[in-house]
Symmetry: C2
Subunit: 497 residues, 2 copies
């Protein structure tokens, strides 16, 4: 066996163990009784411990050296696989295992406190734990930045968005931050002058909602022979590429949130499902990163499912499903509901136009917090000032301000920008897809995602991690991530329609 | 860290990984979509591979040597834990990993063929694959017998019933085989002279069956905060001690099979649940073996739940649950249904009196097959002859004969006797429990298992694997496994009531 082959074997096993953790994670969020939590934590810790030991074992260094020496024997996918293996290995080996353990403990502790600090609006109570998390995050960023020879923020970003650079995100977000306030104002004025959206009357039975959800999942192209739809408190797409577990939650008074949520998660699911089969359990066979992953959920939810064509289809479909009678079910009213723009305090409830402001705020704050030019004591104030500047509203408390997201409290620093980068990539990919396959909008009007999905499969999904995000976008759309297409999409949808 | 402590740490991790496999196994049998099977196999293989590597790593030998050298420092539970660790280690290290791999493959292949050979009544089609399995089983038995210095059959039995000896089983089974044919005849004659059992009329809605099942599970004492009830094709009790997954299947025309099945699995569940908490994830904290495990399911299903007291309780309970009106719901009729004795071809459908014949037949055949005094070509004939001799009936085909059980085909040789040894242990424990806690029968008459469960918890469950099966039985009942109590139980229930 060559060194490269030995590496493949090791990563195959590590990733199979990672898949096992994925299934256990789904179980924990959907069906596990509360009393199983402690044992589950130990199971998951054992699995991640074993993976870490395989990844950081001494022979890996020799295997990498051996594989690099015989690079000439490798094909292009093998080379890309080797590159991705090295990236993962580098992340794992730069930190001492004592440090990782301290970090895991600090994050778990902080997250626990956050679960009550958020509803209690008590930032002071979490400040010491969050300081400890940030302190370790800064150390991690510094250590990795030295080894990777990059900016501290980028060292963390790389974990979520391989190869991502804050210098590019700065430019993108500055552009959006200049564009959005005025644009949002204009959209709100336009919408104020139009008929107001009326909500269809519930209740909407959960049975009917689930039935409609399943139909939508199938319409997008998902095969239930390779996955499930279940209920969880926080909807997610989990499991493994050949057995994908989509979750949602239902509210009898509102079917629209769950339906769009299901479409969103199905976008993630289709990406996982269509990853290159020949590279299952190998790094190059995995999704490219969080930007591409979010682009795949948002191209389904935001681009396709909120298009005029699809909304007109789903309006009539949902009216039938729920036996609706009022004029609230008319296509143009549904369009108004789905495209309503209104600045709000909560990121996860934000509309397409105001969402980037939430992300830009968090990105700018976490950058300053990581590089040390800001301390946590001033976070609540800085958060409120920042939101006011970007959206013109000031959160009434920290529950609706800097305590709302779990990310920083459980240690996910450098993750936030991928939400908006993903939204932009979705707009860019959708524009290219429509220009190459003009039948896409009309098909969506019939609830048929197959022309879009065929294009995505061919141009995005089956590429796995072969290319970087920008390389992939350039290959498919002609240019790297670009604010122009996103702004054009927003203008077309919110001002020109 | 002492060598002993290092061993505990290693076993803790191995067993946490084993628990992860347990949850994945539950998932596979209950909720996994068919398309996830291949990926799941790879996940499970990776987990068992990792466990095997930890168990057979070179340092283990030194750790055992070190721990044995300092045996004097250990308490009695630690010593028992060390003994169990050695037993597990010995099983894992006697076979070369190439051999284990060949065996796993041969068993998987044979089991696959069996899935169609059984319904097709085609023993010839499976003969070559089964020969391969038996050949490897004989080799395993021979290798282990040499290392363990025991009989070949006992080397396999030890895996399911630690310390079990065929010389004792021979004596027990010979005694039962002498007693049972005449006894069965006598019971059948008695039952023929009595009013015939009438089946209550269905359909019994699955919702009502599930509700009743959950009530029964709670009545036995199971806490749903630490487990679930779900549906699977083959009912089982899986999961892990702190998160136990009971399964059943429902038939709208028959609620009694599912109800008794649920009680049976809850017996297993309570054993797991009450294992010594201080020894979680350690070998000594695990269930003693298959005999004790089966005794715990059968003490609930066969001893307690078919007692006159409980049947009279459940008859009225079920009548209410299903809004039954006919006289079929009367207590004495329910008793007749539950205690009906009738020789049949299928083991899993057999009643309490004829069940041992099925087990004795398989035990005698597998002993001869393992020691080489019989070859597989003559199995169908030998099976039919054996059943006729023990039960007076001859299977019409191999589907209902030697093809009915999965055990040999998937490599579980040496497992069968534990079913009947477990039934005997259940009778023996129940007799002692009643004599020590006379309130047990009356409580069962109110659907209250707590006096029985308290006794089992104290005398059986919390002992884990501290003692051997016979040591435990002797400690609790005054003597090792003994046919007299079992025969007395059968006589009392089937001839004297």
């Amino acid at each position: 066996m060559s060194s490269y082959q030995a590496l493949e074997k090791k990563f195959r096993r590590m990733n199979a163990i990672g898949e096992a953790s994925g299934v256990l994670g789904w179980d924990m969020s959907t069906v596990m009784p509360a009393g199983g939590a402690e044992a589950r934590m130990e199971q998951l810790a054992a699995l991640s411990g074993v993976r870490h030991e395989i990844l950081t074992s001494r022979e890996m260094e020799d295997l990498f050296a051996g594989a690099l020496e015989k690079k000439g024997d490798l094909g292009s996918w093998q080379l890309a696989n080797l590159r991705e293996m090295q990236r993962i290995w580098r992340h794992a080996t730069t930190l001492e295992s004592d440090f990782v353990e301290a970090q895991t403990k600090a994050c778990k502790k902080c997250e626990m406190i956050w679960r009550s600090a958020r509803p209690d609006n008590d930032f002071a109570s979490i400040l010491p734990a969050l300081k400890e998390v940030l302190n370790l995050t800064r150390q991690e960023a510094k250590i990795k930045a030295e080894v990777f020879e990059c900016d501290t923020y980028d060292a963390l970003l790389d974990h979520f968005e391989p190869g991502g650079k804050s210098i590019r995100i700065d430019a993108i977000f500055d552009d959006l931050a200049t564009f959005l306030p005025e644009f949002t104002q204009a959209v709100q004025e336009k919408q104020a002058s139009e008929p107001q959206a009326i909500m269809p009357d519930g209740p909407f039975s959960i049975t009917d909602q689930e039935k409609l959800g399943r139909e939508m999942i199938k319409a997008v192209g998902f095969d239930f022979n390779h996955g499930r739809l279940d209920v969880s408190l926080h909807p997610f797409c989990g499991g493994v590429p050949d057995d994908i577990r989509i979750t949602t939650r239902y509210d009898e008074n509102d079917f629209m949130t769950s339906m769009m949520g299901v479409l969103h998660e199905t976008g993630h699911a289709m990406y996982e499902r269509n990853l290159p089969k020949d590279w299952r359990l190998q790094p190059v066979g995995s999704a490219r990163g969080m930007t591409m992953h979010e682009s795949q959920s948002l191209i389904i939810e935001m681009q396709a499912s909120r298009s005029e064509e699809f909304v007109s289809y789903i309006a009539s479909k949902a009216q039938t499903a729920f036996k609706g009678k009022s004029s609230a079910w008319a296509s143009d009213n549904m369009q108004r509901i789905y495209n309503k723009v209104k600045p709000d305090f909560i990121r996860v409830d934000a509309d397409e136009v105001t969402y980037p402001a939430h992300v830009i705020l968090r990105y700018r704050l976490e950058k300053e917090l990581i590089n040390g030019s800001m301390e946590l004591d001033t976070l609540p104030e800085a958060w409120s000032d920042g939101l006011e500047k970007l959206l013109g509203i000031r959160p009434p408390n920290d529950t609706m301000g800097c305590l709302q997201d779990i990310h920083w409290y459980d240690g996910a620093w450098g993750y936030f920008p991928t939400y908006t980068l993903g939204a932009m990539a979705a707009a860019q990919l959708f524009a290219s897809a429509k220009s190459e396959v003009p039948a896409i909008p009309e098909a969506l009007g019939r609830g048929d995602f197959s022309p879009l999905m065929g294009w995505l499969r061919k141009n995005v999904h089956t590429w796995g991690s072969f290319l970087s995000t920008d390389e992939l976008l350039t290959r498919v759309t002609g240019h790297p991530l670009d604010t122009q297409v996103f702004k054009a999409h927003l203008k077309a949808r919110y001002l020109e329609s």
